[in-house]
Amino acid sequence: MKKKGVGMACVLHPTGNKGAGDPSNAAIQLKPDGTLVLLVGAVDLGQGSTTILRQFAADLMEVPIEHVFASNFADDFAPLSLGSFASRVTLIDPHAVENAAEDLKKKIREYASDLLEAHPDDLEYKEGKVFVKGAPDRSMTLAEVGGASMFGGGADPALLVGTGAWQPARFHPHDPETGAMPAVGAISFGACVAEVEVDTETGMVDVTKLTQVWEVGKAVNPLLVRQQINGGLHPGLGTTLTENSYPYYPNPDWAPENFSDYALPTFLDYPEETLWGIEEVPHPAGVKGAKGFSEGSTNGPPPAIMAAIHDAIGIWIDEYPATPEVILRALEAKEASG
């Protein structure tokens, strides 16, 4: 007999640390052809951190994103970032990029002042050009500044690199009265609703529909946000229903050795209907209001699915994963206890 149920869960997901300090650095170098090289230590594992940091650099330097080169293989010699974890990159690294961009603009104004015969304070940077305030025809493009700094042409050679560093306000001792402590940089908010069908003869749980909505501050790249919402569902679903490192714990000899034993969710395990939503409430600590959220999308589905199972069969399953064996044993125990 198939029984249906609905469950929901809410998630508060901390993004970025505060207690121990959480620094990131960045550098932006002007090349002789006017393009920019962005060096960041955050490693892109496919989540798109390099993409969004390029977006920030392009926005801040007011140039097309195609003019900003950033590489994932530069992390050995790039300025350091504490790392791509704790959903921290979107909150913290853009600040370092912002500071690096401001530093590079300042250096461009200083370098161009000889060539444009004006004091740096009288120069303005806008849309890839540096020009004399009030006399926009006395201007140089980024390519002209980059070319001059490399090959001369009336000025001394120079390497124009803007550098930036940032971290959230440092550790505050917790309040002895209340215990309160600002432990994280920002919090993102998520909600998940799951609908399931539980087969009481086989113990199989089928998640038929799942909806996740996340409040992300500012969706710097909505396609990447969508990927993170639906992507986090994968380990979330597996944790809840199929993935078990030690099914016969504490005996490690029978640990799974392949993907047949350690069952990752397939296309068929994903809900027949998978919905997602993005909410934006700009966060005061983020550049353009952006903050991270990604890992939180793994945390909503497990409690939502467990609540849906409870709704379907009236039992709170208190172990993960809720495999058919676990479900059937729980149903038997319920029947035995009358």
């Binding site: 496919g46 990927q227 639906n230 992507g231 994968h234 392949n258 027949e272």
Partner: protein, 162 residues
Amino acid sequence: MKQILSFILNGSPVDVIVTPTETLLDVLREKLGVTGPKRGCDDGDCGTCTVLLDGEPVRSCLTIALTVAGREVLTVEGLSTDGDLHPLQKAFHEHGAFQCGFCTPGMLMSAKALLDHNPTPSRTEIREYMSGNLCRCGSYEEIIEAIQVVAAGEYAPSGGKE
């Protein structure tokens, strides 16, 4: 005992010396430098080594190389023509149908086989046909969407979206 294996790889004849125990994946990656097919589980579970053998999807990690003698093998390297991406590649790109990209070569080959056999699959048919390919980044929804838009003709060579 070593033998010369001759087959058609991405439209061109190749000859390569192989041993009887080498898999097609070994030969493609280690001897021919064709690294599109990935070595994921090396056990037939994950599907990222999928190639098309005479148009049918096979796990190259489970295929003994000598069994492809005289036959046609298509890998992800053979999907684009004259530098122009295959409609599925364009759709995967624009619809964000991957994150780390490790499963993508296998996903593309399975999706091509699906559409070659069934040009207008339903959502259920896509889920069933593709269920032998795993994606740990969880891009299933985006992959389904990419296959659907290709099936709908959005990236068709004649007058479709570039």
